[in-house]
Amino acid sequence: MAEDGDAVALAGVRTTIGVVPMGDVGEVAVRIVAAHLQTVLGLPADVLERRPLGEASYVPDRRQHDAAKLIALLNACSAPWPHFKILAVVSVDLGVPILRFVFGEAQMGGRCAVVSGYRLRRNEDGTDAGLELYYERLAKVALHEAGHTLSLFHCEDPRCLMHFAASTKHLDRIRLFFCPRCAFLLKETLKHLGLSGRP
């Protein structure tokens, strides 16, 4: 009986997104990300145990963490976790070899993604964005990267969550919704995975 209960619980987490706080990222930010994933994607999201942010992904020349390396590390350490998608939330600056910075990074159609709040707290003109706008931006980036793990490409609709935002100004133009086309594609992907989802 107990075993059956475990199986049901395990099946549940297999459709759940695991949100991992890494380093000293704020607890509230992580909870807000998890809540948005759950509301917009319609998939359950668990906040997992905080993990340390090691030095392995740090690039001293650029004073950044390499997002691709961070995802590779996350991929390796999260192998035993039962969650079908893993999204790490960090507060450090992220970059990739070709781009000076990124707000987040994801494996296209893969399992892991990472988002950073480092560049979201300030506006383009250097002024403070305020907590509410910061959390909204972080939620948009998290949903965008989660979309990539669910095989969504960048979208041409400038107001869709899957539109590529190269700056906070761009990010603020995006709404907290997927455009009808991306919503349809997302629904198809979830259907293919045997999940219902919201879109």
């Binding site: 691709a68 070899p97 070709i98 000076r100 490409f153 960048h154 590529f164």
Partner: protein
């Protein structure tokens, strides 16, 4: 829209390559990667790319040298140079050599997104422009209906057809196999007063005598075993239009009389019927045979010949209008490129020279087949002499072969030219049909009718 663009990323640093490829793939682009200049050129030889990212410093081949080759061979491909060193001199030189832009690693995210969007929009406009120019070029090619030719021989033919189309007299089209006799017949019909009526073609060599009779005249119920329903013949169906009798030299003597009567009296009886059915059509016939000789030998009726041959049109063989070969080859290449979706862009000089020098015994049809074969099997984007090597084999017979093998190859070739028509092939080979059948069986030649 992004999915239709193909991008090649060339950088010797694996992490840079992977990073740029991953970013572009998130945009939905089709992306390939090459780890060096030579690899990039090999990829470009295999497939057409809209945009190439090219690192300037690479160990096997300098990015500037690769750029020169790309701009020379594939001028439609956009190139963005990338450098880790921020060397302005290299970037300036690259821009002078035709690079569309340059980026210094690592890029600003906004800069990369805007650049890719701008260049691919530009590429889209260029492609549309090329398409329009191609359409204009195709329209500007000397053509008459679906026939192409700027040579004096074809220009004379087009002039003749314009005159012939204006009258309603029977036309006899003469010309070797594969010269486009049916196209000539269709062109006459399309320019004639009967153009709104049907155009019905029948290959007289493809039917047995009784079947041809039934096809042309139709039949009544019970006129022969299996005639359970009455059927209209093509002479009836063609009312108000043009009837094209291809390979008219194959019509049996008895039916020549029947057709002569139809042409004289303008009415028919269906097979097994007695009712007079009025008919109204223009007759165009075609043959590759020498009908004068057939008349002398008693295989073709003189009165029928003169009734068919009120106006005679001669379609020149391809070897008599070699100047049209490059235009025709280009026309077929464009068509097969579209049909096969292969990125073949053109023919090099030597390939054109080879095509112009070849004798083309099968005429335009053989040229069409040769270009189709070359496009289908092409490895590169430009067809070379090597892609038409099979023509050299056909002409040269370089390696020694046995007499039997030569006979088999020759029969195969003639059958292909006659599209499997045994009677026609037997006549060209100057052997009787039974002997030809025997040889086909002996050599196991497939696909003959």
């Amino acid at each position: 829209m992004a999915g239709r663009f193909k991008i090649l990323v060339t950088d010797d640093e694996l992490i840079v390559r992977e990073s740029l490829v991953a970013w572009l793939k998130k945009g939905g682009y089709q992306v390939d990667a090459a780890s060096g200049g030579r690899g990039a050129l090999e990829s470009l030889e295999r497939a057409a790319y809209d945009l190439v990212f090219l690192d300037i410093k690479m160990p096997d081949m300098n990015g500037i040298d690769v750029l020169k080759v790309v701009k020379q061979r594939y001028p439609g491909t956009m190139v963005v140079m990338i450098t880790a060193y921020g060397s302005v001199e290299d970037a300036v030189e690259a821009m002078k050599l035709g690079a569309n832009d340059y980026l210094m690693k690592p890029f600003e995210p906004e800069q990369l997104a805007l650049l890719v969007e701008k260049l691919l929009q530009h590429k889209k406009l260029i492609d549309e422009n090329v398409l329009l120019r191609e359409q204009m070029a195709t329209a500007a090619v000397e053509r008459y209906q679906d026939m192409i030719g700027a040579s004096p021989a074809m220009q004379a033919l087009f002039e003749m057809l314009e005159k012939v189309a204006a009258v309603d007299s029977p036309v006899l089209i003469k010309g070797e196999t594969g010269t486009g006799k049916e196209l000539v017949a269709k062109a006459i019909h399309a320019r004639s007063a009967r153009r709104y009526g049907p155009f019905i073609a029948i290959n007289c060599g493809a039917f047995t005598e009784s079947l041809l009779e039934s096809e042309l005249f139709g039949h009544e119920v019970g006129s022969f075993t299996g005639a359970v329903k009455a059927k209209k013949g093509r002479l009836e169906l063609v009312r108000g239009g043009t009837l094209f009798l291809d390979e008219v030299g194959e019509i049996p003597m008895k039916m020549q009389v029947d057709l002569l009567r139809v042409l004289e009296e303008r009415r028919i009886h269906r097979v097994g019927g007695t009712r007079d059915i009025p008919v109204d059509f223009r007759l165009i016939s075609a043959t590759h045979r020498d009908l004068s000789k057939a008349m002398e030998e008693g295989h073709f009726r003189r009165d029928f010949y003169f009734r068919l041959n009120v106006v005679e049109v001669e379609v020149p063989p391809l070897r008599a209008r070699r100047e049209d070969i490059p235009v025709l080859a280009d026309f077929f290449l464009r068509r097969f490129r579209k049909e096969t979706n292969k990125p073949v862009e053109g023919l090099d000089k030597k390939a054109v020279e080879l095509l112009c020098a070849y004798e083309w015994p099968g005429n335009v049809r053989e040229l069409e087949n040769a270009v189709e074969r070359a496009v289908v099997l092409a490895k590169g984007r430009i067809l070379t002499e090597d892609d038409f090597a099979f023509l050299k084999r056909t002409v040269g017979a370089v390696e020694p072969r046995s007499l039997e093998e030569m006979e088999r190859l020759h029969i195969q070739r003639i059958l292909a030219l006659c599209r499997g028509n045994i009677s026609q092939a037997a006549r060209i080979l100057k052997i009787n049909r039974t002997t030809l059948h025997h040889k086909i069986k002996k050599y196991g030649i497939p696909g003959s009718a």
